[in-house]
Symmetry: C2
Subunit: 450 residues, 2 copies
């Protein structure tokens, strides 16, 4: 008898099958035991009836602790109350390893996330992280399929780089033989070289920021997808970002139904991605935020009143703050695109808006529900002289950026793209509280273990 997967059990209704996996939990005692049995593909209830199995089997099933590894056989019967539609009546039980002191308790009212992250290698077996990380896996494959189907060439940017793209203060420096190197903060500059070679490319890999911020919103190591397209201008970049976010969210809604149920995710707000994303300029958004500030201040909800105080705290011309992004999410209730920020708050490579050179042709996508910016991108400065001015203004060492300037010397064309942080996206889709839960082994200023 070959073994079957829990997720396939429904196809074996009425059959006796072999299952291989672990005891997730157990209840019952006297004459009837109910094992929650997991094998990674799903969890099924296994009923152990004292009258149907030899006494030693019943005693073993009663004794072993959670996460004992087992090979069992049993009859698959219908169970309309379970998500799978089936349960299993135990026939035989083989214990590979009997466990008694598994360090994670299933029923912790207020989970201590730091304590759980200390045993992340075990915690990933639990229902919630299991569901979140299955969604992450689907999100990443959806992203890869989205670009592959559209003819983008996957273009892996290097991790070791000679210089900074997003600011030297958050660079990880690595001793590199007799020299030194830096861990990439973004593959974009390399992606631009790729776009000029392949027309449209996508970079997708881990990126690194030595974030000293202790807000716990940040990871030092996170995955980013960065498409870059030759001859694509701001409107097209916004179209691409919107289409990609919609594709990914719809695919999770379609293929991760059970996981979203486990997470008790309210999917109504996710389903709103089907509607067009509002596109609002930074300048227009200032007015919107003014109105929201007044509206929230007058609210009877003390949370909103509190939020109101922090709206537009940064002042005109500055980047938006976390409260602004939260307010935008509350107002529009779906992803919002904010375009044309003041050039002063954006990176050196962003293209000036010909209509008003104090602003750049950029776009941020803000996810609702307090998640904030999930995408940042825009058109790149394709004019060599204007780009050089910015390189000088930002005091970027010429010898480290000279190769990049070659892209403007030899066949420069309008182009652009964006970067989406995978963990932020997963955090939003799953509704998990901490971005640290959206990656298998999160790395922060405090943690490189396990």
């Amino acid at each position: 008898m070959g073994s079957v997967q829990v997720s396939d059990l429904k196809k074996h209704l009425g059959e006796t099958v072999e299952l291989r996996g672990w005891q997730y939990n157990r209840r019952g005692s006297g004459k009837l035991l109910f094992l929650q049995f997991r094998d990674g593909s799903g969890t099924v209830q296994v009923v152990v009836s004292k009258k149907d199995v030899p006494e030693d089997v019943f005693e073993t099933a009663k004794r072993i602790g959670n996460e004992s590894s087992l090979i069992i056989t049993g009859l698959v019967t219908e169970d309309t109350r379970s998500a799978l539609g089936v349960e299993v009546q135990l026939k035989t039980l083989r214990v590979l390893q009997e466990v008694h002191d598994y360090p994670i308790q299933i029923t912790e009212d207020v989970p201590n996330i730091d304590k759980l992250l200390d045993v992340r290698h075990l915690w990933v077996r639990s229902r919630t992280p299991h569901a979140i990380l299955r969604v992450r896996s689907e999100v990443e494959q959806a992203i890869r399929d989205f670009y592959y189907q559209r003819g983008f060439v996957l273009f892996d940017a290097p991790i070791f780089t000679p210089a900074s793209c997003e600011g030297a203060s958050t660079l990880f420096e690595v001793p590199y033989f007799e020299d030194k190197a830096y861990l990439t903060q973004s593959g974009q500059l390399y992606g631009e070289a790729g776009a000029f070679a392949f027309g449209k490319i996508v970079v997708f890999g881990p990126t690194f920021r030595a974030e000293k911020s202790k807000t716990r919103r940040h990871l030092t190591e996170f995955w980013m997808v960065e498409p870059e397209v030759a001859f694509l201008e701001l409107d097209g970049i916004m179209d691409l970002a919107e289409e990609q976010v919609r594709y990914v969210v719809c695919r999770v809604l379609e293929r991760c139904k059970e996981d979203l149920k486990v997470l008790e995710r309210n999917t109504a707000i996710l389903e709103k991605v089907a509607e067009p994303f509002p596109r609002v300029s930074y300048s227009e958004m200032q007015d919107v935020l003014q109105k929201l500030k007044a509206e929230f201040a007058a609210s009877s909800d003390p949370e909103l009143v509190k939020l109101s105080a922090d709206i537009l705290k940064n002042g005109l011309g500055d980047d938006l703050g976390a409260a602004d992004e939260t307010a935008v999410g509350l107002h529009y209730k779906r992803p919002v695109m904010i375009h044309r920020y003041p050039s002063a708050v954006k990176a050196f490579y962003m293209k000036r808006d010909p209509a008003n050179p104090d602003y750049v042709l950029c776009v941020d996508v803000i996810a609702p529900e307090g998640v904030g910016e999930v995408i940042g991108g825009g058109q790149r400065e394709d004019n060599m002289d204007l780009l050089m001015k910015q390189v000088e203004k930002h005091a970027i060492p010429l010898q480290s950026i000279n190769w990049y300037l070659d892209l403007r010397r030899y066949g420069s064309v309008p182009h652009g793209g964006f970067g989406m942080g995978v963990e932020r996206c997963v955090q939003w889709i799953t509704g998990c509280q901490h971005v640290r839960e959206a990656i298998p082994f999160p790395r922060t200023i405090y943690r490189t273990n396990p």
Copy 2:
């Protein structure tokens, strides 16, 4: 008129279309110019006829250098000699940037790879690297599809790790705030935690080895795919490796025909992956190599005689050498699986063969044509006591490996997997000479630039 892609031109036969891209090359002079026009999706010949265009257009077309960026319009006509089946009769020409001093010459008889890698950001536009990297993109998507279709969960292992898996001498150490961390050499140990949570997972990301070897066969940064499966034993691991290699190679043969033509790749040897891969134990292989050594020594081919001298140089009980792998490839002419190596030459986590504990239940896959090992893997030691002995023998610090030992404390089961280096695989499939050509921006002991 919307612009079209070169790769779609055949659909527009008889139409006047707009193309956006770059001049790749030009020949002709007097009355007829032939531009090779590329847009990343392909290259098409554009005919500029003096009698059909205004004089200034002809003069411009005659003057501009390679990699000038252009927007052109022209009539799509049939051309049976071209791979695309079409060429374009130029009507209008708009020069975005006129280039005259593009640093790469198209026709270099003996390309100087080091010089070309200095301008890798431009070299990726050239025919050969363009084709190799398109194959790489297909290989990576094929790998992702292979595992996704089989229900594997993508499980991103961390890049920052607390300790070494493959040997401390090749670790990159990174100052990490007040502490230090190490760049991952393999995601396997984390993948094992994932397999116990999800049943079957795949890790796929960059890995790092501070290889001081100057053989140029090594990269300091390379991508590795590492499936890991609970309850999978050696035979199943070999089945999975064989099936995956076959899937990837067949998919490239099917979808990258034009790229393989550009690379003048002899695909006959690739097509042999359809046949079963020989599975030979290390001990049996010693006999095979003895015979090959004698056979090659008696050959009339001086290359084989030379190779013969290096066969079995390492002696019984040692790992195979490069000459051994080359000989194996020459003999079998397709990927070969060598299993059950002496435990002394393999990593601490490999499971002992119960039939002979001097050997481990491992497998290496050797690609032919001198490429050598592309896959290494096997069953992991699932017995806590036996594993502890190896940890002690290898003097692995307990505090850095303790979390991993938890996987043997709490529900240990038989399991295994393997790692395949993407660049080696791409090198073999494309037949490129240097592994450095198989990644967009190769990193070696000498190079972190551009």
